[in-house]
Subunit: 369 residues, 2 copies
């Protein structure tokens, strides 16, 4: 789904002759080919070389060549022999072949390890290397309609997988039982991979990322979960809090307050606002209600990456733009140690934000009966 | 499960005052705490500083502090505020506090991005940085009895999850149907995460890593799968080939030949042999039977990492040692484009290799009826 024209424009602005994608996210974005072992076996590098005025080259491990050829729009796909040939040496040779040995080349400097970089620098001493991570970040920030549809379907399916699991889970079941229902539902609905699933019952609800365990869903408690899956290379990410059995007044009240704040913040996610604005509004709304607020962010853009920039954080002054896809996820930790958390996917449009998860954002806490 | 004494010994040999673990695998190995977002959200660094003669420090993002404190044996756990504080600046401050500003410090140079390294180097100009990846590699290479038990249970559960899915799948079901049965079984048996699951029916069996699709399991075809899961931070990895309906003579023959080779190679996985030996033997056995052989490796060590070193490859001259855990996985591509693949987990013991998956390594290809 790479917009090569836009990439070339940005390379031109940055005076770059070529960029090299090397992180799993940007290689998938640039090539359209999802090489899953790139994440699992990090030394098995996959590399996309995108020159400004020459044909791009996709370099993969031999074992992945057939997949790359089947999936990528790139014509020039080359493979190295694992353990025998170094993928970075291979890249160096291709750069020389493309007469880029004196070029300005953008690298992903937060991903590329020092060892690899030292090899590039020593074998290509006249190349001017700089960072190009921000270029991919900017390109991926605004989603295409195709990406929006994919992310929207994924968000809705994930929300439904959780809702259905709440309905088929009962008091006394364990976190793992609930987890397995969500997992089955997600795979039935077409998820390729579950990237994370954290569930915490009782006071475990306040831990950020607890793996589901044998802890029973005990009547009177709350349970918090946060789940993400991958759908053709794109993420979903939904968080929910439910009460086990009818909620008590305190639980009802906290949840209702959280949802009131949530809806108000969402309404203010409009084009032209800065990303720090909804964050600051959220903090004000917490504080005006006497709720403690101590979070570095309350949301993030999402797409091929789980957390993409901009973040809904006090430091982020970038503007909200049309066709950004944002997960908003306020969290509340009660003084007695419980965590309440909701998270839905938003699409920013000219006429206001759309809730893609299809949630009604109602005041009533979901109940596991 | 870190052996700190052994680490100190290796630091001493390498004249290092401290090592810094930063990859998800080595941070988990060093601290015992599984910070899943470290993989999912790469800039959210988790860092373990292990000095040779001072107390270790575990640096995590604020949101992960409660989990780190609950899980890690380390006492000194500190957290940075995401987006506001840079984890690398935070590490720099701790290194100064620990009076390591003129020390020799080992880094994971294949993982640490250039940007982070440049920050370290500019803020700590008198530190002598070098690579310590090989130290962790060596430490993790020989498994403890506790690790062996965990990996053994995981391997057996994964093999059983696949066997059971073959029994409950029928001709005409899709790759996805088979995938979902394996997934359910794995989660029912306690897997925390499925790291990968590739399935290919018919000629898709020869693609290395195809995601399961709607392709039907058609009578007369074969199906190949390779699946890995995570169990309390440790991997399982099993590959199988099955026929759909009774196998024809050609399928029977190829599978039987593959298993004969497989058993012979396994028998030769004995202490003191070099890792290239079983590889070379496997190649000889293929070639003596007229089977084409063109693979960079036929197996790998495994543990916290999916592919750990040594590899069963022609380049790897390291010796097989007691308590290594190896996935052996010969693959055969038939001239007409089908892929046959088996993979089991082996434990190297003084008295010979043990097959931990509990497979009987028999000649008969599994059948989906």
């Amino acid at each position: 789904m790479l917009k090569y024209d836009l990439l070339r424009e940005k390379m031109n602005q940055g005076k770059l002759d070529a960029v090299v994608a090397i992180s799993p996210e940007n290689v998938f974005y640039a090539t359209g080919s999802l090489i899953i072992t790139q994440k699992l076996i990090r030394p098995r590098l996959a590399i996309a070389l995108l020159p400004i005025d020459k044909d791009p080259v996709f370099i993969v491990c031999g074992i992945e060549e057939s997949l790359a050829k089947a999936e990528s729009w790139m014509k020039d796909i080359r493979s190295y022999i694992e353990f025998k040939e170094s993928p970075i040496d291979y890249l160096t040779d291709v750069l020389k072949e493309k007469k880029l040995e004196k070029a300005s080349i953008g690298l992903e400097e937060d991903y590329l390890g020092i060892q690899y970089f030292e090899t590039l620098r020593s074998r290509l001493p006249s190349v001017n290397f700089s960072d190009c991570g921000h270029i991919f970040e900017e390109l991926r920030m605004i989603k295409s309609e195709e990406e929006i549809e994919l992310l929207s379907d994924a968000a809705k399916a994930t929300r439904k997988a959780v809702d259905a699991a709440f309905l088929s889970t009962k008091e006394g079941d364990s976190e793992k039982d609930l987890a397995n229902k969500i997992r089955s539902n997600l795979f039935e609905m077409g998820a390729d991979e579950i990237t994370f699933l954290v569930i915490g019952v009782g006071k475990r609800s306040s831990i950020a990322h607890p793996l589901p365990g044998e802890f029973p869903l005990t009547k009177g408690e709350i349970v918090r979960l946060d789940v993400g899956a991958l759908w053709r290379g794109y993420n979903s990410d939904v968080a929910r809090t439910a009460s086990i059995g009818p909620p008590n007044n305190e639980q009802k009240k906290i949840y209702k307050t959280l949802m009131e704040i949530y809806r108000e913040v969402i309404q203010n996610m409009t084009v032209g606002k800065k990303f720090c604005d909804p964050f600051n509004l959220c903090r004000e709304l917490y504080e005006s209600r006497g709720l403690s607020f101590n979070f570095p962010h309350i949301g993030h853009n999402m797409g091929i990456g789980l957390h993409e920039h901009p973040m809904v954080s006090p430091e982020d002054k970038k503007p909200l733009q049309e066709n950004m896809i944002i997960n908003l996820e306020p969290f509340y930790r009660s003084p007695d140690g419980y965590g309440y958390h909701v998270e839905d996917l938003l699409l920013i449009r000219r006429d206001g934000p759309k809730v893609l998860t299809g949630s009604n954002l109602g005041d009533q806490i979901p109940i596991i009966e």
